[in-house]
């Protein structure tokens, strides 16, 4: 009998998810009418016509100047508001991003933690934070989780593993959802890491969603990326397929006290040695090997910085981020345009896309 109300609630939640589907269709309709509202006839205009969220800042108790000052003085509310502004595409975001402290961004290390679901990324991140704190460093953590493709919602559980640092003002944790973006990151991850750096965090640890075989956006955005695996998650063929192995700076065998860890380490070593990479063993739950892992990552960071490789990597990353933001800003316009096209003539989606792009950027202009 006691189970009945719970079951009822479950049924309810299923029903509401259907409502979610309908709602997203409505939103798509709204978006279209939004663009009509902006009256974009001239394609050149769209570069300045982003969906505007006017008045969003009015709802908060902090204005943009307070937020800027707050970042400078390491106020955690201001920092959180700043990330939201960028994440939500608010109008004030550009003004904020332009005001960030370039020298702090320059000097802080961005560390990427990626790997399969259940490999222990959150636990490892938590322990890396602990080691950083022992060394007196102020740390930023960006924990990314997938958004639901149906409702657009998300559940962030990474904080559960990091609550030991909850009251530490020098540990800044932000959960972010992918919001439709593939590749294991969210569009605002780069901007969020720069905001954290500007607020004095060094290093900044970005924990990606649990990734499979090809999501490797993290290697662009992080200065050093560790790929975390654990015994029992898949056979060695999975490891061979994984493009991530080729691009990570370092491989970590977590849960090294479990059966099969040695075997996994040996297999990874074969790939790693050929590329001049290290394989490290950790038992994150007990904190074993974590200090050594942080040392190894910071050493790679310093080597890359000294050789100029990091600057090159960051410059390339910025270019890619510009492309990403550009596409992100064009997306609603492209969608509206595709709705405008004569649906009856059909036409292959690639042909239709080319038609829109050609209209936007006539061949003569570039």
């Amino acid at each position: 009998m006691r189970l009945l109300p719970l079951f009822g609630a479950f049924v309810n939640s299923r029903q509401t998810s259907d409502v979610g589907c309908r709602r997203s269709e409505d939103e798509a309709g709204d978006q279209k009418s939004d663009f009509r509202k902006y009256n974009i006839a001239d394609p050149q205009l769209i570069l300045t016509a982003q969906p505007v969220r006017q008045g969003y800042a009015l709802g908060m108790r902090m204005d943009i100047e307070q937020i800027k000052r707050g970042i400078e003085s390491k106020n955690s509310r201001a920092l959180a508001k700043a990330i939201s502004l960028v994440e939500d595409g608010a109008e004030e975001a550009d003004q904020l991003l332009a005001s960030l402290d370039a020298s702090r961004i320059e000097s802080s290390a961005v560390i990427g933690i990626t790997g399969a679901p259940g490999a222990g990324k959150s636990t490892l991140t938590d322990k890396l934070v602990a080691v950083c704190r022992e060394r007196g460093k102020r740390v930023g953590v960006i924990a990314i989780d997938p958004s639901s493709p149906i409702s657009g919602g998300a559940i962030h559980g990474d904080r559960i593993r990091m609550m030991q640092h909850a009251l530490d003002q020098d540990v800044v944790v932000r959960s972010m959802a992918t919001r439709g973006r593939l590749g294991g990151l969210c569009a605002a991850a780069g901007a969020a890491s720069r905001i954290m750096a500007s607020a004095g965090c060094d290093p900044i640890i970005i924990e990606t969603v649990g990734v499979g075989q090809s999501e490797m956006d993290i290697i662009r955005i992080a200065d050093v990326t560790a790929l975390v695996s654990a015994p029992g998650l898949g056979d060695d063929i999975q490891a061979l397929k994984a493009g991530l192995l080729e691009v990570a700076d370092l491989m970590v065998v977590n849960k090294a006290d479990k059966p099969g860890a040695e075997m996994l380490a040996m297999e990874l070593n074969e790939i790693a040695r050929a590329k001049g990479r290290q394989v490290m063993m950790t038992v994150a739950a007990q904190g074993q090997g974590v200090s050594e892992l942080l040392d190894a990552m910071l050493e790679i960071f310093e080597t890359k910085r000294a050789s100029g490789q990091r600057d090159q990597q960051r410059a390339e990353c910025r270019n890619m981020e510009v492309v990403d933001w550009g596409l992100e800003m064009l997306r609603p316009y492209l969608y509206a345009q595709s709705l405008e096209q004569d649906q009856k003539t059909g036409g292959d989606p690639r042909i239709r896309a080319k038609e829109i792009v050609d209209r936007l950027f006539p061949a003569s202009t570039w």
Binding site: T16, R23, S24, R53, R77, G153, I160
Partner: protein, 133 residues
């Protein structure tokens, strides 16, 4: 899928020693299914931990769950902690096994709404949405 613009962010927390988190998880999942981004902080947190997490995550509302009878102590504590950190504008909702006579007491302390096992999920979602808007 809408990718632009604001998504409402909610923190679901369980203050105190109560470890019964099925209700909290159920609410979290329903919110997710309705397009909210939910930060779940797990069981056995202090009021202060929940308040600080709510600020760092810049959530639009906090939902607290308690099934062990300590709500009169713990829910107001979270509100006090938020006040202490200059974040009294983040609304707090409570839910769980809460006797009817306690509801006005909680509301007096600033809890915006109280839900019990009979409350429909639609009502809960609508209340969260209303507080976020």
């Amino acid at each position: 899928m809408a990718q632009e613009g604001k998504r409402y962010r909610i923190l679901i927390g369980k203050p105190g020693l109560d470890g019964h988190d099925r209700g909290a998880k159920c609410i979290a999942r329903a919110l997710r299914d309705n397009g909210f981004e939910v930060v779940y902080t797990g069981i056995r947190r202090t009021a202060e931990e929940i308040a600080v997490a709510a600020i760092q995550e810049d959530v639009d509302a906090v939902g607290l769950s308690s099934l062990s009878g300590a709500h009169l102590q713990l829910f107001p504590e979270v509100i006090q902690s938020l006040k202490k950190h200059d974040a009294a504008d983040i609304p707090v909702i409570g839910g769980g096994i809460i006797p009817e006579e306690d509801m006005p007491v909680l509301k007096e302390h600033g809890v915006k709404a109280v839900f019990t096992p009979g409350t429909s999920m639609d009502e809960i979602i609508a209340t969260f949405r209303g507080l976020c808007e």
